[in-house]
Amino acid sequence: MIRRAIASREMILLGAIVLLLGVIYTRFPGFVAPNNLIRVFNDTSPLILLAIGQMIVILTRCIDLSVAANLALTGMVVAMLNAAMPDLPIIAIVILAMGLGALLGMVNGVLVWKLQIPPIVVTLGTMTIFRGLIFVLSEGRWVNSHQMSAAFKAFPRSTVLGLPMLSWFAILAVILFTVIMSRTTLGRAVYAVGGNPHAATYTGLDVGRTQFWAFTISGALAGLTGYLWVSRYAVAYVDIAGGFELDVVAACVIGGISIAGGVGTVAGALLGALFLGVIKNALPVVNVSPFWQMAISGAAIIIAVAFNARANRTRGRIILKRAEHAT
């Protein structure tokens, strides 16, 4: 069964993360302390949220390079909104952020669905457009901490059951999308469309429409992360999360999500993100310059994709009797 086969790949990744933590533990036991692990998880939460959205998009044979720009644009809009209307309740802000993010995702989705423009071209384009729009909106100015309301900034940090809200959003998304991907029609459709678009059409699935919804989900998650990001760092400007889309794709590739579509799980995206998160947080602890981070995540992408390709190699048709196996 599909999940059984992939589980082994995820176990390997989990093993790699545990090994990594073990190695760090021998030198810096403090890094593996529960409080610090919570901190690492919280710090990785935005990456987890975006990686789940990206995973769904990649499963449908697309790619969304505009997530980080979407995050930044949505973050800027809600930050400016908060500055102008400090009394707007947080729940409204969260809904607005997700709505705006989803809307931006729909722009990608419509272009892919209705005009069949290759997703990489669409999202390269919208990525630069979204960044440009932030500048136009903000006229290049920053929204700083003192312009934001206290509630706005406090929300992602407020703790429930010992975990910050930010972490809870990531956990919630992991649970929600695990169910959606494995137990709903939409989830099945996403796997089917990516696994064999031709067959999906014959099955009565609309490939383009499924891709549209994948982009919408990715956008909604990016929008949500946009609010969480600007409120957590208490600043919004044009370049926030610059280049973050590559980390997101990296998390997916490391998590075993096949760029060819149809193969991957939420658990994989989660572990891929955590792998990068642990490395990023461990570097300063083990006294390596943070400038190493970029090269390491690049190397991790290449190793992961090579590893996945090896594991996925399809067997040829076997004709000879002696090699034939009974199923």
């Binding site: 990489i120 960044r131 440009g132 990296a250 970029m294 991790a300």
Partner: protein
């Protein structure tokens, strides 16, 4: 079966076909923008201003030529800007070691070739998807620059090294512009007039059938990655020479502008179609737009909106037109 009809070689002369092509449309657009610009600003028609404007696109276009061939063959290289950063860093390092200009050029070209070979081996030897591989090497190559340089910069390039980015061959014709012209001819001939070019088209249209036709697909693709790396090295020399310094963030985001240039030039992102004259015209258009907006004091980030919109609309508009026509 006995009636042997002779089949004409062509129904349309090459001239007729060219007149109806994407390139003709690009030429009209370029002329239109030129005229618009000359009305918009009195400074536009100054020969020296025009000469300066060419620096907007010459370096990117050099890479775009090689990228065009690569995309026509069905692959892509998103690591080109990072190759520039790594090559520039290596040249900066060589300067610190006391090497002179000839050695610097060799270093720049050498690093480009090595990076291209690295991408090429991963894609052709290990059969990995080029988009993921080069997203990985995009982080890896620039990451190495960050490891070497951190937030520092290399300066102190030899005086004669400045010629590549700042020198003039004749009157307003800069070295870069001349090189751009020479490379345009070389790549144009390579793609349109040689067996190698024909193989590139064949591979992009149907790699399996091309292999079955005796074309060494892996070797052709490897050469294309090598060429793209080499051109990134050339661009690195020109850009480093023009700026006179190296930071790890050099040429950040150029890969998108280069891909935009190639796609705007009529190259199909799905492979199999495109021309060098188209890319040349696209380079001019992007240079003219950037320059024109610059004259109107429009900030750079806003230009990115234009670039992004251009990228999407050049693909979307013909498709919308088709849809509207068949309605």
């Amino acid at each position: 079966m006995s009636t042997t009809r002779t089949i004409p070689d062509r129904l349309q002369s090459p001239l007729q076909r060219n007149l109806k092509s994407w390139e003709t449309l690009l030429l009209l657009v370029a002329v239109g923008i030129f005229i618009l610009n000359s009305f918009a600003s009195p400074y536009f028609l100054d020969p020296w201003n025009l000469s300066d404007a060419t620096f907007n696109f010459t370096e990117k276009a050099m890479i775009a030529f090689a990228m065009a061939l690569l995309i026509i063959s069905g692959e892509i290289d998103l690591s080109v800007a990072s190759i520039i950063a790594l090559a520039s860093t290596a040249m900066g390092f060589a300067v610190q070691m006391g090497f002179g200009t000839p050695a610097l050029v060799m270093v720049g070209l050498g690093v480009g070739l090595v990076c291209g070979a690295f991408n090429g081996v991963l894609v052709t030897r290990f059969g990995l998807p080029s988009i993921v591989v080069t997203i990985g090497t995009m982080s890896l190559f620039r990451g190495i620059s960050y490891i070497v340089l951190g937030d520092q910069a290399f300066r102190g390039y030899p005086i004669d090294f400045a010629f590549f980015g700042q020198g003039y061959v004749w009157w307003i014709i800069s070295f870069e512009l001349a090189l751009f012209g020479v490379l345009a001819v070389i790549f144009g001939v390579l793609l349109h007039k040689t067996n190698f070019g024909r193989a590139v088209y064949a591979i992009g249209n149907n790699p399996v059938a091309a292999a079955f036709s005796g074309i060494r697909v892996a070797r052709v693709k490897f050469i294309l990655f090598l060429l793209t790396g080499l051109m990134s090295g050339v661009a690195a020399i020109c850009l480093t020479s023009r700026l006179g310094s190296t930071r790890p963030s050099i040429a950040m985001g150029w890969e998108l502008e280069i891909v935009t240039m190639v796609v705007l030039g009529g190259v199909s992102i799905l492979g199999g179609a495109g021309t060098i004259p188209g890319v040349v015209l696209a380079a001019f258009i992007m240079g003219l737009v950037t320059f024109g907006l610059g004259l109107l004091n429009v900030p750079g980030i806003v230009m990115s909106i234009v670039i992004g919109a251009l990228l999407i609309s050049v693909i979307a508009l013909p498709r919308l037109w088709e849809k509207w026509k068949t309605r």
